[in-house]
Amino acid sequence: MSDFEPKVVAFVCNWCTYAGADLTGTSRIKYASNVKIIRFPCTGRIDFMLLLKAFANGADGIIVSGCHPNDCHYTSGNFHAKRRWIMFKELMDFMGIDMNRITFSWVSAAEGAKWADVVNATVTRIRELGPYVSYKEMVDKSVEEEVKNG
């Protein structure tokens, strides 16, 4: 698996983490290029289903990141998100979907260095875990099920 390059999708909020990631760049801090950033208005807008869609479409790891508690641009979006992630994590654990592949973090607009750390740590971890085969296999198998006679 030495040539395995993890595909990591980051779902981030516009006001803190996206700005933080921007700061990482302007501060010329290098970090793993495996991450594809998708910007949302707020962590409260990040539907849990999007994470599953990312896995289904080939992501090996996911980062979800937004403003620190009390810093939400919309006052409470991240608090709502937090409760949702707690439930989502428990459900995923119960169903055997690998939560080690998802990093949840709070990265503010000033934490350019933290963003680089979060990404690097995630990519390293995913590199060790290898590609997320079991979820993809399920998706592919589902396609085969249809082709088969019933």
Binding site: N57, E145, E146, V147, K148, N149, G150
Partner: protein, 336 residues
């Protein structure tokens, strides 16, 4: 074709099964870990059940899969293309041990898919299907095949029909050319008929379907429908387990530029089934949808497709979470 009857010994049945699985897909019933009766492809003979009353799902999926791809496409604006399905890839399948009600359902499905324009997906699958049926030696209170013009040993739809004998051997009625081919491929397993008695279950007739049909034509506005569907919760279980329900949905699914259009099972019991984009719904409440289900099977289909839309398997009633018992309702309907 002239039908013939042969004898097949208990131990030869296993040989026949193994001979069939060696070179084709055999779809046979097994008792799953959770006690559900389900059909699987080529299970080991030891797993195959001969003592089931009804499988949880019907076997209609061998000719009408729950998802059937219709074609593939690439959506690239002006350069879009469509790739047809290679229907020659549809496999030859032997359906093993399905009961007469399920097998009779193939005729009903044909009357839906092949009236007027012929549906090639369905007809190709049916063409490649050989049915080795099994007469019923067991039944329960949900069975009502005798009320819809069938019986526990109806031959309709089967290519070969096995019937259990008292000593554990089987009679094999060879009904079609397809059945004959199978017999020829293992001729030494079939012997001359004995006079051993067949074990056939008795299913009590609950209603006359002719009478139901004639009553229904004037029963559209009857309060019966609301009274008897209040408990219906509007799920699609009855339609999905039904061997003759054929309503479907057509949907697209795309990944990037490529995708496929497929059809999948649908149910007239769902509120969205008939909902117009405007928000208008011709069948707005559940009683109208329940009425549609019964009317379709027992009034519209006999008039339109010259076939009854029900084979009396009783799955809709046994699978219903709120005990909407169709036989009971039809019994009541014939007397309104």
């Amino acid at each position: 074709m002239e039908t013939t009857r042969k004898l097949i010994r208990k131990q030869s049945v296993e040989k026949l099964y193994n001979a069939l699985t060696s070179n084709r897909q055999v779809y046979a019933p097994v008792v799953a870990a959770d006690k559900q009766i389900e059909y699987r492809y080529n299970p080991g003979f030891a797993e195959v059940t001969f003592g089931h009353i009804r499988s949880t799902l019907s076997v209609k999926n061998v000719v009408f899969p729950k998802v059937e791809n219709l074609f593939f496409y690439t959506n690239a604006r002006s350069e879009s293309t469509i790739t047809d399905i290679d229907m020659s890839r549809i496999p030859e399948v032997v359906l093993w041990g399905a009961h007469p009600c399920d097998n009779a359902a193939f005729d009903t499905l044909r009357s839906i898919f092949c009236w007027d324009i012929k549906d090639e997906f369905f007809s190709k699958r049916l063409e490649k299907l050989a049915v080795i049926g099994l007469s019923c030696h067991l039944s329960d209170e949900y069975c009502f095949c005798t009320s819809v013009g069938l019986s526990p040993d109806s031959k309709k739809g089967s290519d070969i029909l096995l019937s259990l004998l008292k000593n554990g051997d089987y009679h094999a009625d060879i009904l079609t050319e397809k059945g004959n081919e199978i017999v020829k491929s293992a001729a030494d397993l079939f012997e001359t008929v004995s006079d051993e008695k067949e074990v056939i279950t008795e299913v009590k007739q609950k209603f006359s379907h002719e009478q139901v049909t004639s009553k229904l034509s004037a029963a559209f506005e009857h309060p019966f429908w609301v009274e008897n569907s209040l408990r219906c919760i509007g799920c699609g279980a009855c339609a999905y387990v039904c061997p003759t329900c054929a309503c479907f949905d057509i949907q697209d699914e795309t990944r990037g530029k490529n995708g496929k259009r497929y059809r999948s099972w649908d149910s007239c019991g769902f509120g969205l089934f008939t909902l117009h984009t405007s928000g208008h719904n011709p069948r707005e409440v559940q009683s109208q949808r329940w009425r549609q289900r019964i009317m379709h099977k027992f009034s519209y289909m006999p008039e339109r497709n010259e076939s009854l839309g029900c084979v009396g398997c009783g799955r809709c009633s046994s699978g219903c979470p709120v005990d909407m018992n169709i036989a009971e309702q039809l019994e009541a309907l014939q007397n309104i």
